[in-house]
Amino acid sequence: GESVGLHLPTLSVQEGDNSIINCAYSNSASDYFIWYKQESGKGPQFIIDIRSNMDKRQGQRVTVLLNKTVKHLSLQIAATQPGDSAVYFCAEGGDTGGFKTIFGAGTRLFVKA
């Protein structure tokens, strides 16, 4: 899961299984949340976002869940594929007029074939 620590948390899953990556955020005033995927040698890439007036949003093979009560965000990836191997970041926006997106520490996802 996600944490602010000295090393990158790692999640290892079997190809075809579902993956769940968790994130805790700190600012209860945050109203916009985003998940990004970063592959080696590339910049972070937008996956899915959710605003604070929702608690669930689905995309293609991905679902984001938001629990504002405990300030928790999760990313679920269905039928995980080798191409899903990357570092995943949760981010919270909305601060300072929405011009300051703050990133969590990242979780490295390994998909075993």
Partner: protein, 112 residues
């Protein structure tokens, strides 16, 4: 057709030198950013510009000076480089506030 492009991709230089990184976006976005990613993959915002105006300066040393000549460009000039400046620097853009960021592929800066 790269949406956000930054140059150079790699930059190796000695302490005390001055260097620049260029960024251009062709998405028509109003807002551009610089982020710094350290060796532990932690991404930290440095600057945010909206319509060429500085919105966020996240207590970055004044050796770092961003310049936005127009909405499509945000360059980063760094004076008197230090060892601790070694990192990957990412440029990004977005359509206004509270919207997804589109990142370039980064500039890996190594200061020796």
């Amino acid at each position: 057709d790269t949406a956000v492009s930054q140059t150079p991709k790699y930059l190796v230089t000695q302490m005390g030198n001055d260097k620049s990184i260029k960024c251009e976006q062709n998405l028509g976005h109003d807002t551009m950013y610089w982020y710094k990613q350290d060796s532990k993959k932690f991404l930290k915002i440095m600057f945010s510009y909206n319509n060429k105006e500085l919105i966020i300066n996240e207590t970055v040393p004044n050796r770092f000076s961003p310049k936005s000549p127009d909405k499509a460009h945000l360059n980063l000039h760094i004076n008197s480089l230090e060892l601790g400046d070694s990192a990957v620097y990412f440029c990004a853009s977005s359509q206004g506030s509270s919207s997804p960021l589109h990142f370039g592929n980064g500039t890996r800066l190594t200061v020796t």
